[in-house]
């Protein structure tokens, strides 16, 4: 059987213009005037968004694509869906391609829901006859039948998404490309869509390529995953394996760190041997849901009697923002003159404080006053947080982008005042 998608040595080079990708005529004109005086133009910066990609995807396979931002995931989908041409190599696509790089592409606010189904459906490659045939199913699936003849501008964003998903879920190409679109919308409806796509994929042998940052969705939906890094394919195979490769390579969560000979302070009074992340049961972990308490422990040895110091951590998120610092200001810890021997200190980051991200931790042992840093291990540990939708979080069931450096679960008081 011939592969549904056969990719050979595929590459895409972008020329980086200084400010905008397109040119201004005035720049060309003024540029050529300048060139009369200065010979030799500054070459445009180039970079390869994709390089040497070789990939065979069999009919009926569901393949996930992961990688960091800028790894080339979207470029790959754009080439396969013919939105942009490759610079090198070829891709042979056997079957009709439907691409869902965005839900509701071409939706127009002035048109009614029904009219938008026709417009969006035809943009996505459905024939009018196919839409006619599926119209009732699409409307039914979306759950917005009451408003189907109302202009889209009166819909809530949730309703628009549902309608868009319904059209998408009823596409019937042999190859379906999906880019992150399932990362929006409410969880219930997402599940419904994934279920529908899975069903069609299994019963009709549809090939699906699915780009996502959501590792859990990938696990559920795609048995096989490709890992892209800086435009190169660095892993392809069993999803669980690739995810652990990805996590190991990119997320670099580090649940524990141990030094055989220890990290000694400059005065050789304290030696740090081990630091690790764990949950309340003591299990060492690097993934926590946002409601869980995260324990950070340090094990060290004091080499002399009567030593005075305290502990501290700095916490940074994925964007390298210093989310918070915490010093051990418990009076007895701060003022206790420690005797020789081994110690273990644990600090707890409370649940419902951090949003989902990847956090990196500096661990420190220091003298507070005057400040004298004895040991500072930067980025020694890191962990990932995720939302468990079965638990109560400040996000509720809202699954869309939910920004904020912290995510406290606050108390809301409602009083009837009349």
């Amino acid at each position: 059987m011939k592969p549904a998608i056969e990719i050979r040595n595929l590459g895409k080079e972008y020329k980086l213009a200084a400010a905008q990708p397109y040119m201004a005529l005035r720049d060309i004109i003024s540029g050529s005037v300048k060139n009369l005086f200065h010979s030799g133009r500054k070459p445009l910066k180039k970079f390869w968004a994709l390089q040497n990609i070789d990939l065979n995807i069999q009919p009926g396979e569901r393949v996930g694509i992961i990688g960091r931002n800028g790894a080339g995931k979207s470029t790959l989908l754009k080439i396969i869906s013919r939105i942009t041409p490759p610079t090198t190599g070829t891709a042979i696509i056997r079957g009709r391609v439907g691409s869902l790089l965005e839900v509701g592409t071409g939706f127009h606010p002035e048109l009614t829901g029904r009219e938008n189904i026709y417009l969006n459906g035809s943009i996505l490659g459905l024939k009018k006859a196919e839409i006619n045939k599926q119209l009732d199913a699409i409307i039914d699936f979306s759950g917005v039948e009451k408003f189907i003849d109302t202009p889209l501008k009166h819909y809530s964003s949730g309703m628009q998404l549902r309608l868009a998903f319904s059209v998408a879920a009823h596409l019937e190409p042999e190859i379906l490309l999906i880019d992150e679109v399932l990362a929006v919308g409410d969880m219930e409806f997402q599940k419904k869509c994934i279920g529908k796509m899975e069903e069609v994929s299994k019963s009709h042998g549809r090939t699906i390529l699915f780009v996502s940052h959501n590792l859990d969705t990938l696990r559920k939906f795609c048995p096989v995953t490709a890992l892209l890094d800086q435009g190169k394919l660095i892993g392809y195979g069993n999803t669980e394996k690739i995810i652990s490769l990805y996590v190991a390579k990119h997320l670099e969560t580090k649940a524990s760190m141990e030094w055989e000979n220890g990290i000694a302070s400059y005065n050789n009074e304290v030696v740090l041997y081990k630091t690790y992340l764990h949950d309340q049961s003591g299990t060492i972990r690097s993934r926590f849901d946002t409601t869980e308490m995260t324990g950070i422990s340090m094990e060290y040895e004091v080499k002399k009697d009567n030593i005075l110091f305290t502990h501290g951590i700095n916490v940074f998120n994925r964007e390298n923002t210093n989310v918070f610092n915490a010093h051990d200001v418990i009076a007895e810890n701060e003022t206790m003159r420690r005797k020789k021997g081994k110690y273990k200190v644990t600090v707890w980051i409370p649940g419902n404080l951090l949003p989902e991200s990847i956090f990196s931790i500096n661990a420190a042992i220091f003298l507070p006053n005057p400040v004298d840093v004895l040991i500072l291990e930067k980025g020694v540990l890191s962990f990932e947080t995720y939302t468990d939708f079965s638990k109560l979080t400040a996000r509720g069931q809202y699954a869309d982008n939910f920004p904020g450096v912290i995510r406290p679960l606050l108390k809301w008081e409602l009083v009837k005042t009349d």
Partner: protein, 280 residues
């Protein structure tokens, strides 16, 4: 699994673009999208403004009144046997078709950038449907024009049945060629769009809308102006009023430049369209 045999006919080879083709077969496959884009633009246009249809009619009528006032009272222009209001309106509705088709087609790629960045389809559909939307407006203007011919008791020769379509087709083809060329240029050079209204303004006066081309004494100037295909189109369109007197040289020059515009427009568009998603 039997389903893979019929799939073979959909096999697509994707590689760096080379060579040139019109892509007519593919356009045909996507004809429904062509229809839907046109339908969307017409629908939205007339949903957004209740004056939509009325405006499409009032604008040329208003211009007709102004030009009639200027040129039949102040500086009389001899357009016999055609009455001046009919003469000028016939030019105006054709000009409006050209003007609105070209300016909308030129803007169309940028306006639909979000779709172009997300979905593949033959890009020619976008400026093509802009031209069709302009044609829709024109057909309503044409209806008013015919009503006015009756009001002014303007005799119309039976040859209108093929002279009218001939003029309209020339305008459509010329506008499509110019529009696709400008659309591609607009994506590449984003500040180019500001020059388009001015160029169209110049072209307005280079077209025989308010004056007959035959009134120009210098034949070199007349034939230079004939390079503007709008002149040939209006010449044909007015033929049924003026007893079929046509300047054949004007028509031939106009047809030649129409063809040239069409070919160069499509060629340039097809050459650059692969990179629209990278630029837009």
């Amino acid at each position: 699994m039997g389903i893979f045999t019929p799939m073979e006919k959909f096999t697509t080879h994707i590689q760096a673009p080379s060579g040139f083709s019109l892509g007519l077969k593919e356009l045909w496959q996507y004809r429904e999208l062509f229809y839907f884009f046109t339908w969307r633009d017409i629908k939205v246009k007339y949903k957004q403004t209740y004056l939509g249809i009325l405006w499409a009619l009032l604008q040329p009528l208003g211009m007709m009144v102004i030009f009639t006032f200027l040129f039949s009272k102040t500086w009389p222009i001899n357009t016999a046997p055609v009455q001046y209001p009919i003469f000028v309106l016939s030019g105006l509705i054709l000009w409006n078709l050209f003007n609105s088709a070209v300016s909308h087609a030129a803007e169309s790629m940028i306006q639909n950038a979000n779709i172009i960045n997300k979905i593949y389809f033959p890009r020619l559909i976008i400026p093509g449907s802009s031209v069709l939307v302009a044609l829709f407006d024109f057909l309503m203007g044409l209806a008013i024009f015919i009503v006015l011919c009756i009001v002014y008791k303007q005799p119309v020769h039976i040859s209108a049945t093929w002279f009218f379509p001939a003029g309209i087709i020339i305008i459509i083809i010329a506008a499509f060629g110019t529009g696709t060329f400008l659309a591609a240029l607009n994506v590449k050079y984003r500040d180019f769009r500001y020059t388009i209204p001015f160029m169209l303004q110049v072209l307005f006066f280079a077209s025989q809308i308010i004056y007959p081309l035959q009134s120009i004494q210098q034949s070199w100037l007349k034939y230079m102006l004939a390079v503007n295909p709008v002149n040939a189109a209006i010449e044909l369109f007015r033929a049924p009023f003026s007893g079929d007197s046509i300047d054949g040289t004007v028509i031939i020059i106009g047809l030649g430049s129409t063809l040239l515009l069409l070919l160069s427009g499509i060629y340039f568009f097809r050459k650059t369209e692969a990179y629209f998603a990278d630029l837009a």
